[in-house]
């Protein structure tokens, strides 16, 4: 690859609070953003980021995505204006269920008051691309904008599309925004009934007692440009997106393929796309949902793809602190990973107190660990996301040490 993709700005709104650095600092300090079995963005105040008009026209998932995007654009130095032609800047939005809260509220309104009383804004609030549309409108992005939907893999899958749009010359920059706000009784119950939800309300990835995931909400955003463009305008990248790959289990709609074979292929292909091998990886940000099935399948996938190197690489789970942000998870976790690489830290897998016999990698239990000093001045990580439907997406990130 001649001109790599770099991230020049990052932003996040998560159950740990407002801001990408907040996520990183609190996670590394071992704080848990999950309260009463849910990862809510308690601190999020929409009026700090959106006008009254925008709030009214946006489902919570869009509000969160726009807020995170505002931070990323400011961080990238775009506050004074777009650095490229507007028709060459686009937005890729990741979400799994989009404006579901609006959908369910209006369904109830229609049922109770009659369907002629349903809000005229319903369609444009509930549609999954609503976040992309609002980001584009607010910042005047005229290039290709759309949503990427792949369940819990969406937030990582979005990197694939963003990369292609930059590599094939369609766009000069992509604003990658992700948002999910699906904490609502119907969704929680639906996960509970299918046996995916933690009964204890505590996320314990890779722990012997792990009992499923905790639902979270939140958003993440990155400004992605070609390295040459960033250098030309004097922007210092946060890090590089050096590789990406995705595969599909085609096995079962909810259970991961148990040997982790296809997930391993995604990891291997991602490393190949970056031109590196297992020995070059310093950290793995796992999908790590704390589901009984995922954690074992993911461990097998890591061992298959990383071979002997697997035992020496710290593997941790962001979901242990903020819960599962579903469509936004991969994006938020990539942001956490970039900052972890920057500071040379493997953030901890919280709640991991009792190891499982078969899960014997270094999952960074409870306390952060220092990453080993890189030989060539760069730290590299992979971030995995495995979505319902069998979607496996892996992004490879690199930061100068």
């Amino acid at each position: 690859m001649n001109d790599s993709v770099v991230a020049t700005g990052i932003g996040a709104i998560t159950p740990l609070g407002t801001g990408a650095e907040t996520l990183h600092a609190r996670w590394c300090a071992g704080e848990v953003g999950i309260v009463d079995g849910l990862g809510r963005c308690h601190d999020f105040e929409p009026s700090e980021f959106l006008s009254r008009k925008e709030i009214r026209a946006a489902d919570r998932f869009t509000q969160l995505a726009v807020a995170a995007t505002a931070e990323a654009l400011s961080h990238a130095g775009w506050s004074d204006g777009l650095p490229y032609r507007p028709d060459r800047i686009g937005c890729v939005l990741a979400t799994s269920v989009g404006g579901i809260q609006t959908c369910l509220e209006q369904q109830e309104r229609g049922r109770v008051k009659g369907y002629a009383s349903v809000s005229p804004l319903t369609v444009t609030m509930q549609m999954a691309n609503a976040g992309a549309a609002m980001v584009a409108q607010r910042w005047g992005l005229h290039g290709e904008c759309c949503a990427v939907v792949a369940a819990c893999a969406s937030g990582t899958s979005a990197f694939g599309l963003a990369r292609r749009l930059l590599f094939d010359g369609t766009l000069d920059a992509v604003v990658l925004s992700a948002g999910e706000a699906a904490i609502t009784p119907q969704v929680i119950s639906a996960f509970e009934v299918m046996g995916a939800l933690s009964k204890s309300g505590v996320a314990r990835p890779f722990d012997r007692r792990r009992d499923g995931f905790v639902v979270g909400e939140g958003a993440g955003a990155l400004v992605l440009e070609r390295a040459s463009g960033a250098a030309k305008r004097g922007a210092a990248p946060v890090g590089e997106v050096v590789g990406f790959a995705a595969t599909t289990d085609a096995y079962h709609v909810s259970a991961p393929e148990p040997t982790g074979r296809t997930a391993a292929q995604a990891i291997t292909k991602a490393l190949d796309s970056a031109g590196i091998g297992p020995a070059d990886v310093h950290y793995v940000n796992s999908h790590g949902t704390a589901s009984r099935h995922n954690d074992i399948a993911e461990t097998r996938a890591l061992k298959t793809a990383l071979g002997d190197a697997a035992n020496g690489i710290p593997v941790s789970s962001t979901k242990s602190t903020i819960g599962h942000l579903m469509g936004a998870a991969g994006t938020v976790e990539a942001i956490g990973t970039l900052l972890a690489l920057r500071d040379g830290i493997a953030p901890p897998t919280l709640g991991l107190e009792e190891p499982d016999d078969e899960l014997d990698l270094n999952y960074v239990p409870e306390q952060p660990q220092r990453l080993q000093q890189p030989a060539d001045g760069h730290r590299v990580a992979i971030s995995n996301s495995f979505g319902l439907g069998g979607h496996n997406a892996v992004v490879v990130l690199r930061v100068a040490a």
Partner: protein, 82 residues
């Protein structure tokens, strides 16, 4: 039961609605031109729903396009409420 559609009650409901749509309260005067307020066609549809719910008045799209200012809108609702 719909409340009585007096000039005051209709003005109050319309003003509250426009403010919720994002218009600054100070800008909502009876001679404010509808075309100059920061509202769009979807807002007007919602306003129609509110007026129907509050006063039982059905505003037809063709009537609404004829309106020039907020006062005209209020007047039409009062008139149609009989």
């Amino acid at each position: 039961m719909s409340p009585v559609a007096t000039r005051e009650s209709v003005e109050s409901v319309v003003t509250d609605a426009l403010e919720r749509f994002g218009v600054e309260r100070a800008d909502i005067t009876m001679d404010a031109a509808l075309a100059e307020l920061d509202i769009d066609s979807l807002d007007m549809i919602e306003l129609g729903q509110i007026v129907r719910e509050e006063f039982g008045v059905e505003l037809r799209p063709e009537d609404v396009t004829e309106l020039r200012d907020v006062g005209d809108l209020v007047g039409m609702v009062v008139q149609q409420a009989g």
